[in-house]
Amino acid sequence: MRALRRFFLRLTRSATRRQDEARLREELEDHLALQTDDYTRTGLSEADARRRAALTFGGVEAMKEAWRDERRLAWVEHLLQDARIAVRRMKQAPGFTLAAVATLALGLGVGSAVVSLANGLFLKPLPVDDAARLVIVDQTIPDRPLTNGYGHSYPDYLYYREHARTVSGLAGHYSTSPMQVVTPDGAFNVSGSVASASYFSVLRLQPALGRFYSAAEDDVPGAHPVAVLSHDLWRSGFAQAPGAIGSSVRINGTTFTVVGVAPKGFRGTLGGVSPNDVWIPTAMFGVGYRYCNALARGCNMVNLIGRLADGASIADAQAEIGVLASQLAAAFPGTNRNRGALVRAARGIRIENQAREAPIVTLLGGGAALVLLVASANVAGLLLARGLRRRKEIAIRRALGASRGRVVRLLLVESIVLALAGGAAGFVVAIWTMDVLRGFFGVSYVGGALNVDFALDLRVVLLGAAVAALTGVITGVAPALQASRSDALPALKQETPGAGGRRSRLREGLIVLQVAVSVMLLAGSGLLVRSFLMVHRGPGFDPDAVVLLRLRPSLVGYTNERSWAFQHEVIRRLEALPGIVAASPAGSPPLPGWNRQADVGLPGTTGEAADTLTTGMVYVGPRYFRTLGCGVVQGREFDDRDSPDGAARVAIVNETLARRLWPDGRAVGNSILVSRARHEIVGVVRDLQYLNALEPPQPAVYLDFWQQNRADNWSADAQLHVRISGPPATLLSTISQTIGAVDPDVPMSDTRTLGDRIDYQFSQVRLARGLLLGFGGLAFGLSTIGLYAALAFAVGQRRREMAIRLALGAARSHVGTLVFRHGFTIVGLGLAMGLAAAILGAGPLLASLLYGVSPRDPLALLAGPLVLGIVAAAAIWFPARRAMTLDAVDVLRSE
């Protein structure tokens, strides 16, 4: 305790650096005066008394030193002293400081941005009270990945809520429900949540206005149409009027009473999806979810979030809820056989999205780490060169008695101060970089903001500062050791150290490292550039001339019959418009990952798994391929001849499927079984899929949109494809007006050109390409500058040696060759190492982002390094020229 108290007293005195020595002086004077008094009393004269007193007193300076040591902490004092020297030196060499700080700011800033991104995606807790105790319970299904976040059925949720003791509250919700909300201020197409009454209490939310609905209102199905609005929707839909409470809104065609407004900033518990604007009770599930009866067992739509009971851990909850799940599995084998439950902490965005983003964030993190490595190597090179220039200063320090450790500490403090300054400037870079990243990770495919928060928080800032300090140590340690080793005598005599030696080898090693890393990054970005070009060329049609839009008449209670009539009318009116070439409905857009699957076989076979092929299957309307602008290879595409009620079901196959089924014959005219139903093939079309480099083209079958089973719930809504000739911007509004004229209530969303959708679908490739190009460019620039500086410096150091060579009759070209050979050895080593690393690493790291490009594509791999080689040659040329134009006599005279 005592020691601690003293420590803090001394620490504050060190830190405030109060030079308050008045008290000591006072004590000394008192002491002397009193002693003098004593001596005068023994009979000495005044002057003699004072002299004797001073003599007995002893050395004042040593005493002051001891006093100072007691007052404060010496090492803190020395550290601050070193830091002050460091800052002074930084000011003395503004060019060096700017270069080093800017280099480190880039390296550290990019890293901070990626950490902040990962923090937002994977780690941040929900913005509610005591969020660390919130857990999510997912259903587990055998042979399906745990990262799919499967929901539970409503009765299962009730069972867990009834019996789980390790959670103090459990809420069920379905939070990706599209809701068409009609308020006095207009219609809003928002994302809503069907949530149990316990949702609000588990999250410890307080309404901003009104109240949340009660358990009694969440009991009898359909009995209490009450809704809670988000603060944002209250503002836009009710102009923030308090009268909103108690008023009526229509949600997906059902009238609800608004009972409350959620707190400002709360946008639901599901991150990485569209933020929630409306909450309705689970008893009203039918309004928010239409594809199965959400209150029945087997319809697994309910996501669970709960709060751990006091004293319970996640492991406790897992143990208990796991037992409850096995009880359910035993009691309801028809729906729950082998199903389990997984309890995890509620942090980051939705688990499926986390799994999807993890590889690209890893890639970005790796890229950022490499940039930091290059930046550090670059700064270490700068520090090494500076250490050489400071040999004299360091020699003087050593000669005056500074130990080697003290000198190393001084130099290390300098590099740490430099790195901390770089880290601070890096946060500005991080904020810029974050703006770019937010455009990819924080935005949905139609451009809406997602429910995710990437703001820098304290954890990121602290980590950034720690990494900066560590970077300072790592970049500084070798240069400091080198500089402090110098022999005092030759340094003071201003002798130039000879060429070669360990010092320059270390510098050259750093350059090789930088060149290698730049090559890796550039080769990787080369692959991604090629991949992105392939994606845009891949479909073989102009995606910017195709407008996609999603019509969802089922949301406003259309029957399938009525919905089909509506869609026919919309297409008829659209095709009559000038500027519109063709319009056609389809079950899904022509993008990877959207296809449904079907089993395709030849007639006469059993239709069992052994005799069928699993293919992609899409329902498309008449003139679909004309709409896409994609040629039919054989036969024809669907047209108005193919009546919905006709006996003959028709199909179109792609080339891959045609080749698979009839390797050497015509496909058109034959019949196939699609999901055991007989279809006649009327046409063959080109393969329309985007291909991952590592996957062969997939077989696909197209069925007539109007011949699909009308009872199928999915058939009521369609992705409408419209081919336009003219600028999309003007035609988009004409299209929505035309559709609005048919029925203004039908929600229309996701209106974008196919080109935009492709861009979004491949945004990961685009992002990776952009950032790797950026990172590679950065590393490339830094390493080129580093190379130039190192060679220029080496030439400067070898001026005398070269002058002697010239004086002894060496040809000027020979001296130039020396420099060239030196430079190209460094660059060549770096290129070779970087290319080897790129070839080994690109396959596993980038495979999932490469479309139509092999990870060993020579053009893509070599383009970047080639450019680097050319620029490097220029960087070598200037120092070499300087060596060749040396005036031998001048040099020898001046040294």
């Binding site: 005592r2 020691a3 108290r5 003293r6 008290r23 002491h31 009193l34 005493m63 040591d69």
Partner: protein, 110 residues
């Protein structure tokens, strides 16, 4: 004779305990006196020690008039200082008693 490391603090505390508040010079004189002039106190040792003890809270100080109308800083024992003195005095006695037994020991006693 030099002061054994750590024992000067104990002497300062004990002197302040017995004599009441003293200024630095007076304290030095008293300690020398009590030691029968076998100790010569260096001010360079004393004042830093006083500062340390004050930072630890064992003593407190304030300026006041000295006997011959000079101003001086007077040090006094605080309550924690008194407790510290008692504890350290006990430790010291135990240590010396122990050491005495060793010096008194002869081979035949063991």
């Amino acid at each position: 004779m030099d002061v054994l490391q750590g024992t000067l603090a104990l002497m300062v505390l004990k002197t302040l305990d017995v004599m009441g508040p003293l200024h630095g010079y007076g304290l030095a004189r008293r300690i020398e006196q009590i030691s029968g002039d076998r100790l010569a106190l260096n001010p360079g040792t004393l004042y830093p020690l006083l500062l340390k003890l004050e930072q630890e809270g064992a003593i407190a100080s304030e300026r006041g008039p000295s006997e011959n109308n000079r101003k001086a800083r007077f040090y006094r024992l605080t309550a924690p200082g008194r407790r510290q003195l008692q504890a350290e005095a006990r430790d010291w006695q135990q240590t010396t008693a122990l050491i005495d037994r060793f010096f008194a020991a002869r081979a035949e006693d063991l």
